[in-house]
């Protein structure tokens, strides 16, 4: 590859990534040379500005035809644009939380890192949306993961934070190894790491043995990646890590990291397995493995919702809730209907809004009370009606009641589940577990609205949190009442 070919690439399609990368470099340097006494929050605001710039650049790239550069390792297609926007928006909101997060337990000195580690993680996620090569996908995934490990443990002197980071690393390592092992078989059977070429090669596989091996690879990749989705069977780390990590990190893990997880899963499932070994009994690998996917989705929904019932810690409860939501999303994947990407994208959008909003409230409450018990929400309506009502709306959206984005998201998934070959059982499980989820979401409501407050002190809500809450509530309701704004947007991308 000569310099000439390099310069011939249409680098502009990578502008968003470059912006983020640039901001990371800038922040690192600033952090290094800034006097110690200066408040590092300014770095946070800078990174927000950077993310905003990246969003603008993605928007300006919206009309660009799908472009592939760097020998097809980086592709900017509709899928990439749509999910990149989601990731950026999610990360932006998380940054607002991060800026408002009160540093303690040894984190004070690493405040700068706190911000730009988020950005590196984001960069990894963004790369995943645009990769069309196993290697870059893997690198993006690991960039995201490793940054997250550090973020989870950034409160150095806090045992829980350390422990959660440790658990995260170990489980993450195992999952990486399993994923990679699966990938290595895919490479072995196709002889290439380029997704397009893999699809081509694998579509010609007719040998039963090879198909069998591909099936195993599929399972390994799926299980390995279920770590990122926090779905069964690799979900158990989530509650512990969510609990121990700083709240903005938890929010990041539950939203951005999960979105990235779905990005890579969709990429691999569709690009690699959708048309692999199509001549076998039952169609291609993906369709043959359909029941396994359904099984995992069902297990995830049941585990997430049922175990959440027993939680007394708000962050753990939200961990299980996020497991459950991963399950709903897996339903959309399982059905593989024509509107699957629509449903997943919209659901992730809705989920981002409502979950980040909820974590914003959680951050306010837990910082005030110093603990993360659900009982700390008692009497919130008396102490701060606005916060309580906000949280109420977000919880209603999470529970999937109409008038909120959460409902439309579920509706999308349902349309897919019944369209074509209907998935009665899976849809029934989904809806039944949704009803189960009312119990714990409304359990929080009960605390907020029905129970007396332990102390009547008011809250001092930081600006960043207010921004997140406004965006979350307005978005949740807006996309609940007029979902076409989002759906049309996505449709016009094509």
């Amino acid at each position: 590859m000569s310099l000439k070919t390099l310069s011939e690439f249409n680098w502009s399609v990578m502008t968003p990534e470059f912006i983020i990368l640039g901001v990371i470099a800038l922040l690192t340097l600033l952090d290094l040379f800034m006097p110690k006494r200066l408040d590092r929050r300014i770095l946070g605001w800078l990174s927000i500005a950077g993310i905003f710039a990246a969003i603008v650049s993605v928007v300006s790239l919206l009309s660009v035809e799908p472009t592939s550069i760097l020998h097809d390792t980086f592709t900017l297609d509709t899928f990439g644009k749509a999910f990149k926007l989601l990731l950026l928006a999610g990360a932006g909101l998380v940054m607002f939380l991060a800026v408002s997060y009160e540093a303690k337990d040894g984190m004070e000195d690493y405040r700068g890192e706190f911000y730009y580690l988020f950005l590196t993680a984001l960069l990894g996620a963004m790369f995943m949306t645009s990769s069309s090569d196993l290697i870059t996908l893997f690198i993006g995934l690991e960039l995201l993961s490793i940054s997250s490990y550090i973020l989870a443990g950034i409160r150095k002197h806090n045992l829980k934070s350390n422990e959660s980071a440790m658990k995260y690393v170990i489980n993450g390592g195992i999952s990486t190894a399993i994923t990679l092992f699966g990938m290595s078989y895919v490479y072995g059977l196709s002889g290439t790491t380029n997704l397009g070429e893999i699809a081509n090669t694998l579509s010609m596989v007719a040998d039963g043995q090879q198909a069998y091996l591909l099936g195993l690879a599929f399972l390994m990749i799926l299980v390995g990646l279920s770590f990122k989705l926090a779905s069964a069977p690799f979900h158990m780390w989530a509650p512990d890590v969510y609990q121990g990590a700083p709240t903005p990190v938890t929010a990041f893990l539950s939203v951005v990291s999960k979105t990235a997880g779905f990005v890579i899963v969709i990429r691999i499932l569709i690009a690699v397995f959708y048309n692999a070994a199509p001549s076998g009994e039952g169609g291609s690998i993906l369709f043959r493995m359909h029941d396994y996917l359904a099984f995992l989705a069902a297990a995830t929904m049941i585990i997430g919702n049922v175990v959440a019932l027993k939680q007394t810690n708000i962050k753990r409860m939200f961990a299980y809730s996020s497991i459950a939501h991963a399950g709903y999303l897996l339903v959309a994947l399982t059905t593989m209907s024509s509107n699957m990407i629509f449903s997943v994208w919209f659901y992730l959008l809705a989920y981002m809004l409502m979950n980040l909003g909820a974590f914003a409230v959680i951050q306010v409450i837990t910082e005030k009370s110093g603990s993360t018990k659900i009982a700390d929400f008692a009497g919130l309506y008396r102490r701060s009606p606005v916060l309580a009502v906000t949280m109420g709306i977000l919880l209603v959206s999470l529970a999937g009641f109409p008038g909120t984005a959460g409902f439309i998201g579920k509706l999308n998934i349902f349309v897919g589940a019944f369209y074509g070959e209907p998935h009665y059982v899976l849809a029934s499980i989904m809806i039944a577990t949704t009803v189960v989820s009312y119990f714990y979401y409304f359990g929080v409501m009960t605390q907020m609205f029905f129970r007396p407050a332990r102390d009547e002190s008011k809250f001092n809500v930081p600006f960043g949190i207010i921004v997140v809450l406004i965006v979350a509530v307005v978005g949740s309701i807006l996309f609940g009442i007029a979902p076409n704004i989002a759906l049309d947007f996505l449709n016009n991308l094509q």
Partner: protein, 503 residues
């Protein structure tokens, strides 16, 4: 004036009240109450105007509105089927009646709330108005998704209204309400989505046509399955035995103003759904279930009646009586002829009015005496003759005394069923006797007899409390004496249903 936007204004008019309330200070009790009450008035006026519009011989279709709303598309620009959901509201005669009922009961319930709610009026009225939006929407929605949305919109405010302003075991009741209705609506959602995915539309009229078409992409078994699912979904709401236990808790624990709404209107959504969707969309399959429904209806009727016979709490009596009376709705539906269906619809409205009246009176009694136990209230006719009189009148209406609305509906339902399934109907008539027995036992136990306690200082009905009582009572008698006020708007609805049933 553009009639097409009228329905949207009707449905969303309480929103104005919510917005105003949001900016009122928590403490200004009087102002909040006034706003809460006044916010129900526009809907009432529009509903009544729509009724007059019909009575003056104009077409209800004038009100129909349809706007494009949500489009579900496939990715990749392939010529995929284009799923779309429209924002569609409309009124048929049946819907019109329910909208009027809703508006009336909502306004009266607001008055009840003004009297009986003792704390946090602001939150109460905001939720209450949200609930009203949901109810009005349910009855005007012209497609299933919209119906479902409004249906669920009623759940949340009701949950809070019960859980916060209810009696002793309010939270339990609220949860019970939420979970049962959540499950019911979950089943409903599955049905809706299957229909949607199979036919590409949720518009009720179009669905009816598609399903009736023998070349529809739904097998007979699937249709039957969907209908049974609908029966379960609305059976929770109605409620049908054995899905009723949540409703007892709600009736006992919820505040009276909410129970007025709940028993008066929310339960009716179940009946409305069964008639409009069950009978309307799946007439063929409904026929095969007729006997089952009749049996369920009779079971409901008798089960509720016998259990009401031994209750000690008047609220429980009324709760079981609601179960019993909803049995009559089923009986009427099972008849599947004009008389039966009209009887069922009449019963829906009549019971709405009667139970609103009775629960309002319970509210009055509870407010004065802090009890609703029959035993503790014995002989109250001495201290509160007017309240006792209305209580007795309400009970009479409830037990189907001619000249009041309860009779007309009961009569028609049985008239219908006797034509089709005379033996089941004959068993059902035991319910008529039992209804008289349990209601008189309870009401006479409270009003007549020796006073077990001093009712000195206990005030009779007064002031604004007369408004709900008198309005409801007058309506009950009006329907009983001149049922054409209801039957006239119903004839087109009935015709459509009969057409679906094949004549």
């Amino acid at each position: 004036m553009n009639l097409h936007s009228i329905l949207s204004i009707l449905v969303f008019s309480p929103l104005l009240g919510i917005v105003v309330l949001a900016f009122l200070p928590k403490q200004s009790e009087k102002l909040i109450k006034w706003v809460g009450f006044l916010a129900t008035i526009p809907a009432l006026l529009i509903a009544l105007a729509a009724y007059l519009h019909f009575q003056w011989g104009k077409d209800l279709a004038d009100f129909a509105v349809s706007k494009s709303w949500i489009q579900f598309r496939g990715m990749g620009g392939a010529p995929e089927p284009f799923f779309s959901v429209n924002y569609e509201l409309g009124l048929s005669g049946f819907q019109l009646l329910l909208v009027v009922l809703t508006a009336v009961v909502a306004t009266l319930s607001a008055i009840a709330a003004v009297k009986f709610v003792k704390k946090e009026w602001k939150g109460y009225f905001m939720l209450f108005l949200l609930l009203e939006i949901g109810m009005l929407g349910v009855f005007t929605a012209e497609n299933l998704i919209l119906f479902f949305i409004f249906f669920e919109v009623t759940l949340i405010p009701t949950f809070f209204l019960i859980g916060k302003w209810g009696y002793f075991e309010k939270e339990k009741a609220a949860y019970s309400f939420l979970i049962y209705n959540g499950l019911g609506s979950a089943v409903l959602l599955i049905v809706i989505m299957i229909l949607f995915a199979k036919t590409g539309t949720t518009n009720i009229e179009m669905l009816t046509k598609i399903i009736a078409d023998p070349s529809a992409p739904l097998s007979g078994d699937l249709k039957l399955g969907l209908l049974i699912a609908l029966l379960v979904a609305f059976g929770v709401k109605l409620p049908i035995f054995p899905l009723h236990s949540w409703m007892l808790k709600v009736h006992v624990q919820a505040p009276p103003a909410v129970v007025m709404i709940h028993s008066g209107i929310l339960l009716k959504i179940g009946a409305y759904g069964l008639i409009r969707f069950g009978l309307g969309i799946f007439p063929e399959q409904f026929k095969t279930l007729a006997t089952l429904l009749a049996v369920l209806g009779v079971i409901n009727l008798l089960y509720g009646a016998f259990l009401a016979f031994i209750q000690t709490d008047f609220k429980m009596v009324l709760a079981y009586s609601s179960i019993s009376h909803m049995g009559i709705v089923l009986i009427g539906l099972a008849a599947m002829n004009e008389a039966g269906v009209q009887g069922a619809i009449f019963q829906v409205i009549s019971h709405g009015l009667i139970s609103a009246l009775l629960f309002f009176l319970v509210g009055v009694l509870y407010e004065r005496t802090d009890t609703s136990l029959i035993e503790n209230l014995g002989g109250m006719a001495k201290g509160m003759p007017i309240a006792a009189g209305f209580l007795l009148a309400g009970a009479m209406a409830s037990l189907g005394l001619p000249g009041m609305s309860g009779f007309v509906s009961e009569f028609m339902a049985f008239l219908g069923l006797f034509k089709e399934l005379p033996w089941i109907a004959a068993v059902g008539t035991i319910g008529i006797i039992m209804t008289a027995a349990y209601l008189l036992r309870a009401v006479l136990g409270m009003t007549y007899g020796k006073a077990h306690r001093e009712f000195t200082g206990v005030l009779d009905l007064k002031g604004v409390e007369f408004v709900p009582v008198v309005v409801l009572f007058v309506l009950i008698v009006l329907i009983g004496v001149y049922p054409s006020v209801l039957s006239a708007p119903l004839q087109t609805t009935l015709e459509t249903i009969m057409l679906g049933l094949g004549g």
